[in-house]
């Protein structure tokens, strides 16, 4: 951003214009999803290929459930996740931190609050390029017979506090990684899966990976350190990382990449080799002083432009906050 003029009135005018001016590259502005692309997706969840029988909950052939070991905080919503690869296709795992998914991959995530199904999101890769993903949320109808496409999203869906993102908003988080899929990676699937779900070993056995890893990645450190680093990886690193793909258009939550919260597979020898320790500790984190740490203050706050994460959360994650506090105190 260019330097502001010294004159008080001119400075105020420039700042006012900057709030809406395209030259400022405001980080919170995203482009709308293409209506024509959205129109290509089914209008009902039952038509997306997730279920063989929606009424009974029977999944379609080839759909696998999974759970990342470090989940994204979604204001306490219960989440279920599924993935479907085209028959015979493989995931390109030449970069173990940024898997490349084949065209035709579909990933679903379902959000429930207090046992009520609110929405199911779909990410579908429609072309061969890394950016060829399209996203859409489906909001469940009153009797939960089906879920209906909601390209605009929804506020306080189904009488809860849960907000459903508009189709264009998914890119704000997912666009920060070349893989686009955030919770389906070597690190996130390294922990043993619950019964009926897939994990890293299962993927290798099924032949889904072009290069199965020689060993499973293990997050270094004590339980406190693992909890903090895992939280940062799942909740911060999709924006704050130094290996973001190039993107055109609106800035859309592409921050200055001074900080990197990624748990990169190649940097798991010890905690000090992780990007978080190398780029954040001593900056946004003051060792031994959580209340003086910008990271902790933003995590413990909610409100426009003064909260972290900045998207899709209106409630503080008190468990994670306690973990991070303990971690900073122990540094």
């Amino acid at each position: 951003m260019p330097a502001l003029p010294r004159s008080g009135s001119a400075r105020a005018a420039v700042m006012l214009l900057a709030l809406l001016g395209p030259g400022c590259k405001r980080y919170w502005v995203c482009d709308e999803a293409s209506p024509s692309l959205i129109a290509e997706l089914p209008q009902r969840l039952s038509e997306t290929g997730l279920y063989a029988n929606l009424a009974s909950g029977e999944l379609a052939a080839g759909v696998l459930a999974y759970t990342p070991q470090f989940p994204l905080w979604s204001d306490g919503a219960d989440k279920q996740r599924w993935i479907l690869l085209p028959s015979g296709a493989q995931i390109d795992t030449s970069n173990m931190d940024d898997w490349g998914f084949p065209q035709g991959t579909k990933v679903w995530k379902q959000f429930s609050v207090s046992g009520v199904r609110i929405e199911t999101r779909l990410l579908e890769k429609r072309g061969p390029g890394d950016a060829d993903w399209i996203s859409l949320a489906y909001v469940w109808d009153g009797d939960e017979h089906d879920a209906i496409a909601a390209p605009l999203g929804a506020i306080d869906a189904r009488g809860t506090d849960h907000d459903v993102p508009a189709a264009g908003e998914c890119r704000a988080c997912h666009g920060g990684r070349r893989s686009f899929i955030l919770g389906f990676s070597a690190l996130q699937l390294a922990a043993p899966a619950p019964a009926g779900q897939i994990d890293l070993d299962g993927l290798s056995e099924q032949g889904w990976l072009t290069r199965p890893p020689a060993s499973k990645p293990v997050v270094p450190g004590t339980a406190v350190e693992v909890a903090a680093l895992g939280y940062f990886h799942a909740n911060c690193s999709h924006c704050h990382n130094q290996t973001r793909p190039e993107q055109s258009g609106a800035r859309c939550f592409d921050p200055d990449n001074d900080y990197d919260f990624t748990l990169a597979v190649a940097h798991l020898d010890d905690v000090h080799s992780t990007p978080t320790y190398r780029t954040v500790v001593g900056g946004a984190v003051k060792p031994g002083d959580p209340d003086g740490s910008k990271l902790y203050r933003l995590m413990s706050s909610r409100g426009l432009f003064r909260q972290m994460p900045p998207l899709a959360t209106e409630q503080i994650d008190s468990v994670a906050l306690a973990s991070v506090r303990a971690w900073i105190e122990g540094l």
């Binding site: 395209p22 502005v29 999203g153």
Partner: protein, 306 residues
């Protein structure tokens, strides 16, 4: 300052200064002043943040920031009768449910109308004037299948305190009748205005969801009062209030929604010359749907041409 900047400023300012020093009285009042003998141009730019009602089943509010811009031109057909053209445009940034924003812009409904000034004789030195106006609008307020322009319009409607539904309601042809009274005893000036926009539904193609439906004619009523005090030859201070009544909603509400909205405004009038004046406004709501979420400020400028 370099010479280029000086030349630019002179180029921009000279025409304005020439116009501004023409001897004619300009008054960018709440109710347009109709004392000039030629024409009058008025520009308004209000910037604000608002969380305004948006009657869609899944999106019951439109939230964001916007510039609500208005250009107006008036021409005196005869001393008491004026023709007027007003064109609103909105540039905004709309909040999405998860917290990101999308930039969007939209046309409001431009209006063409006539204004008449009835001048009552002075009573003990206090001037009293009565105004009447009728305007008809073109239904140009934006429609789009993704509703983004409609949400920008709702935000602009919010930052004007819902006081101009005739500008910011899409899919209608507005017909507005209004009357106003101005009383000017000495340094004080008091104004009161009542407007009655009829919003004739032409299209509901943009209506977003099965839960939203329309009335054939929406009817609103807006009452406004303003008191102004002349502090000096150059400055006046004004305080005003506006009450909006949604008598017959243009779009049937899909949730319980207050039909009354207040809006308060504090204004500083700067009289540059007899023919040019600028108003600095601050405005907000203290009750109703907009209370606590809506605040706006900006400028109005009027120049008389002769």
């Amino acid at each position: 300052m370099d010479r280029g900047a000086v030349k630019l400023r002179l180029t921009l300012c000279t025409p304005l200064l020439l116009i501004a020093t023409r001897p004619c009285f300009a008054e960018p009042a709440m109710v347009p002043d109709l004392t000039a003998r030629g024409g009058q141009i008025e520009a308004q730019a209000h910037f604000g943040v608002a969380t305004a009602p948006f009657d869609v089943t899944t999106l019951h509010q439109a939230k964001g920031q916007a510039f609500a811009l208005l250009a107006a031109a008036r021409y005196a057909l005869s001393e008491p009768l004026w023709l007027e053209l007003r064109a609103p445009i909105v540039l905004g940034s709309v909040a999405q449910p998860a917290g990101s924003y999308v930039d969007a812009s939209a046309l409001g409904n431009p209006e063409l109308g006539a204004r008449y000034r009835f001048i009552a004789p002075n009573s003990g030195g206090a001037a009293l004037a009565l105004f009447g106006a009728a305007e008809i609008g073109l239904p140009l307020a934006s429609h789009d299948r993704d509703l983004m322009p409609n949400r920008v319009l709702a935000i602009a409607d919010g930052i004007e305190g819902r006081g101009h539904p005739e500008w910011f309601t899409p899919g209608v042809a507005p017909i507005t009748a209004s009357t106003a009274l101005r009383w000017t005893p000495a340094a004080w000036s008091l104004e009161a205005e009542l407007r009655l926009p009829l919003l004739v539904r032409l299209s509901d193609a943009n209506l977003p969801s099965p839960g939203a439906s329309t009335n054939p004619v929406g009817v609103a009523s807006i009452a406004r009062v303003e008191a102004r005090y002349r502090l000096s030859q150059r400055l006046s201070l004004a305080s005003g209030a506006q009450l909006f009544f949604d008598l017959v909603p243009a779009v049937k509400h899909v949730r319980p929604l207050s039909r009354v909205q207040d809006f308060e405004r504090l204004s500083l009038y700067i009289h540059f010359s007899p023919s040019a004046a600028l108003v600095v406004d601050m405005q907000t709501a203290i009750a109703g749907e907009l209370a606590g979420s809506t605040v706006a400020g900006g400028l109005r400028a009027t120049v008389n041409l002769q």
